[in-house]
Every structure is written in structure tokens, then in C-alpha cells.
Symmetry: C2
Subunit: 356 residues, 2 copies
Amino acid sequence: MATPDVPVPIDRLLLFGERLLARAGVPDEDARLTSRILVEADLRGVESHGVAHLVDFYVRRIQRGEVDPRPNVRVTSDAASAATLDGGRGLGFVVGHRAMSLAIEKARETGIGFVAAGNSTHYGAGAYYAMMALEHDMVGVSMTTGGRMMAVPGGHERILGLNVLAVAAPTSRPFPYVLDMATSVVAAGKFEVARRRGRPVPEGWAVDGDGRPITDPSRLDARAALLPLGGTPEHGAYKGFGLTMMVDILTGGLSGFGTSAEVDTVRGVSHAFAALRIDAFLPAAEYRERMEPMIEAIKRSRIDSGEEVRIPGELEHALADERRSAGVVPVHRDIVAGFRDAAAELDVSFDLTDEA
Amino acid sequence: MATPDVPVPIDRLLLFGERLLARAGVPDEDARLTSRILVEADLRGVESHGVAHLVDFYVRRIQRGEVDPRPNVRVTSDAASAATLDGGRGLGFVVGHRAMSLAIEKARETGIGFVAAGNSTHYGAGAYYAMMALEHDMVGVSMTTGGRMMAVPGGHERILGLNVLAVAAPTSRPFPYVLDMATSVVAAGKFEVARRRGRPVPEGWAVDGDGRPITDPSRLDARAALLPLGGTPEHGAYKGFGLTMMVDILTGGLSGFGTSAEVDTVRGVSHAFAALRIDAFLPAAEYRERMEPMIEAIKRSRIDSGEEVRIPGELEHALADERRSAGVVPVHRDIVAGFRDAAAELDVSFDLTDEA
């Protein structure tokens, strides 16, 4: 078989996700929102944060009582340009969308909005929330505490999260700048890929339980830990460590629900969102003009034998455009099979493929 | 000789810097401020951004007309929580202090302040401005475009700046968290050190004019370029590239004076400053409490054979405390000799050492 992917009509996938979540107890509007954010990640080619985890991350956690499908999301502090939300242990998508919307509203009023949200859960791809700012001609920022799998330089054990920083900004081109990065060198998924291919991983990705470098991907056991961006001290791991702490301070510190060092079933995930209204600083057209010399220089710097240099988010934008035009998104057949089973279990109609 | 450093009384160094700058045409108050920011970097052990460059970076640039000692610093846009400054090609210290003070003022009113400043010049160590927020129980952020010496992954040539991100935040300990990082793997100074020691540099620090990795430090010529944090694509260089662009967007994009791709004698340096008032989010005491489990986990994660793990800024804080208590800061004898010459040239009294 050429590809393990099944082409699924986008509109059917959106509706299926919505129905599944609604059946799990999520109010219709929140189910629609969550399904949209997940499918958006698939459209952009970020399968790791798309519908692949719809059942195991979200539906199952609701069923186990770890996520409240009807959370009491409350604003616990509210200033002109800053606010704090208690996410009521709801779906991170619902908490994140509400918090970023509030940041955008504040930016409309004062120029900037910054909202910290705690007591939340996994919110999918950070890029989505940052990109919400784009249609308002704002720069958007989204951060979240991640799973606790990171050691710090000179240390061992999984003590900090694979925290995420996402930033979106308009450019002079049809595609926006969209950075969406974990503050670790790589995600754990890269070890799985190397293991399947029987290849070693480079030094600087992870350390074992005693703090020694790992190059055999099968040694990423529960005592091993990933390393912050930079990897080794001589390659700037202290910078990646500092960025990880920065995200922790702005999310779990300001939300009051605790940093990634405290992420467990009690305290939950924390996020932070910022919106900066460009025309509070300068006319938006001038801002766009100032982006062009940078993008032009980046494109021009391609080495003769190499491929075009892409700015962060450029390829994802092109892919999403292409898939939207086709009206179809590829989904791994195992995921589709899982959807069929979940549909049967939850008594939801299944129409993602035309097969009986 | 054990050390090439001369112990200089802090108060004399502060006054000497002030007198030298004043004689170069800088108003007394601005000269005092600039000297304080420079000496503060030396106290923290950041000699690369301290008084070492007082003469060549600042006094000489004023004398050559590249820096205006009496700039017309203007607020060109002013919203409740956002503003833009035209630095009038003044000393970056003066522009930076004014802009960060404005961000703090806005944060006091609305919760957050964000100020972009352009048409400025080198502002020394980014940490200083971020740390201005600390005494107000705020989180501080400072960014600046840096010298254009960076290539992007898959590219060659020096097209982007060694842009800087600095963040300061209170903690549960006597020392604050202070991150102050260039978005490159290392600074050019590390090549000088390796060259002097006759040692190769690791792959991932720089590329030659054709985009090939450099490991011989003497090959960092004018066509060669430093690499963004991560270094190689497999170690996350796209993340460092994305962070470099983020700083460019928030500084030169929002200031309207252009990104690091446009830094030249016409457009100048751009900065950005943010202040977040902690008690706009939650009681400051609760915030401090939430920092402790993270710091405790970091300290506890030390490997048995290793040294204590320090959080960003911890060592610098300890060093500054020690030097303040002693009232003395070490300055390289060549720098002291340069001060003696500059004092004679500008007819300023020299009293940094007791030698005749």
C-alpha cells in the first residue's frame, strides 16, 4: 500500500469530532470549537496535535473524570489589559479560546492584552490561539506548560515540562509568521521514529536516569529525560532551560496554579495568551512593509545547492490552503479505524469513509 | 602575574564613566544613568557588556556623530498599555531606560505595558531593563536587535542579527530569575577564546560563506556567519531562527524602524520592553509561593558527581552582591589603561587607581 492515510472530507471530519465530543458530554458549541481546532492542526500537517488524539486524550479523559466537559470557567482577576482565568479543569481548547478571545478584546481597548489561565488541560496546538490574533491585525502569543519530561543542564530526572511557545504575526507576504515550538530540542516522538528505523539519535537530545547522554533511542525509558533547546551546555542548553522557565513563570506562575514542576492530576495545565494590536504602535501597512526586507533577505540567503528557506509557518500555511481547496484531509487508517470503534461504542453515526 | 585585572572602587568607576560621557556631550543625568548601567553589567560579571566598551562603543560613536548625545526622544504613538518611541539616535541606555520606565508606568495603570523603540543604538546588557521591573513586583522583558551576523538554517551569509531576549521575574528565593540571551548558539567572542587556545569549535556554531560548517575558529571571517540557537536542523535550529524573527518582529517591526535585516547606519537599533504587574493576575505572595516547587526541583535534580544547578541569573546576582559588599569591581588592566588615555585626551581627571 502506497500510503497508510485515508482521505477524509474536511466537513465530515469536523462534524464527526463534534458529535463524538457532544456525546461525551461536551456542550455543542464547545464540541464544535474543539473539533475545529483539532482539524485545523491536521490541515496544517501537525498530525501530532490533531484528531489522532481525539479519543484517547480527550474523550477518554472526560469519561475518566479527568476533564470536566461542562467546566465552570471563571475570570478570577481582571485589569484593563491583564486577566487570570480558572479553567475549571475543562478542555484546554475551550479554556484557551476563551482566554485568547479576552486577550484580543483587551488589546482592542488598550493596545495589549495578556491572560494567564490555570486549572486547564491539554489545549492541542499552541499555534491556533496565537493565530486567532491575525485576523485582527494583531500579533498573537500562546504558551502552555507541557508534559513533565525535561531535565535541566547539569541535572537529571524529568522535572520540567516540554513547555510550548507559539507566536503568530502578519507579514508582507500572503503567509503569516507562525512559530510553534516546544522548548526542548525535540519531542519524544522523534525517538519512536529512530527506534523504528534502527538508527541512533544525536547526542544532546536526552539523558538517562543518571544524567548521561543517550544515543540509543530504545533507552528513552521512564527515568530518562529530554533536554532543553541547545541540548548540551556548549550548544546553549542554558538558553533552552531559561526559555522553559520563562514559559513556566508566565503560565503557571501568573495563573497561580503552578509551573510544570507541579503539573499532576491536582493542579492541571496552565496557559498564557497575549495579543498586541499593531496599530497601537504604528500604521499596520507600515509594519507590513518593514517585514519584507527580512523575508526577502531570508529567501535570498538560500545556498546554491539547497532548497528555498521557509519562514516559520510558511509550509503549514501552504499545506492548509491546498487541503482546504481539495476539501479533504489525510488521516491515518488506524486513527480512522479507532473512530469507527468509538462511534460504535458511543452510538454516534460514522460517515468518514464511504466503505460500509 | 596572577590576574590581568585591577581592583577599581565602584563609586570611582561610576563617577569616571559619568565624567567621560558628560565631556563627550551627554547631559549629566543621562551620563550618570549610562555609567550606572555599564557598571551594573561589570558587577554581574558580564564584562562583555560593561565598561570595557565605554570608550570605543559609546564615546567614539558620539565623537563620530553616529550617536546623538542630546537626542530628541519622542513618543510617536501612545495607547493605554502600548507605546512607540523614536529614540532620536541617542544612546541606547537613555532610550531603553525611558522606554522601560514607560512600560512600567503603563503596567501600573492597566496591568501590562509594552513599548517598542526604534532609531536607537547599542543599549548594553538587556538584563538591566528587564530587571527594572523587579522592584515594582513586575515581570520585565527587554529585547533588542543585535549585530547582523546570523545565517538561517539552509542559508548562508549574515542576514539577521544576534538578537537578544532578556526576562526578569521575582522568585521565592533572594535571587531573581534573570534570562539574558542572544538567539544565536554563541557570541562571536567564543571564537576568539578558541582561537587563542588553539582549539576547534563544535560543529553547529557557525557556517562559512558557502553555508558549510566551520570548526576551525580562525575561519570566522567576514563571509562566515553564526547560527541560531539549536545550531543544526536536527538540534532545533529552526526554533532559534524562529526566536530571532520573533525579536525582530516585536522590536523593529513594531517600532517601524526595521528589523535586524535592515540594521545599518540609517535605520539604527530597535528595542522592545514589557512589564507585567504580578498583582494584576494574583497576589504577589501566591506567585512567589508557586516559584518554589520549580526551583526546589531544579536544585534537587543535580547529578551526584555534579555541581549545584543554578537558575538563570543566580550566579550573576551572587557575584554582584559580593562585589557591592567589597565596594570594588575588577577591570582588565588594558581597559584601565585605555581609560587613562581617554581621560588625558578629554581632559577628565583620572582616579581609578592610586598609582600616579
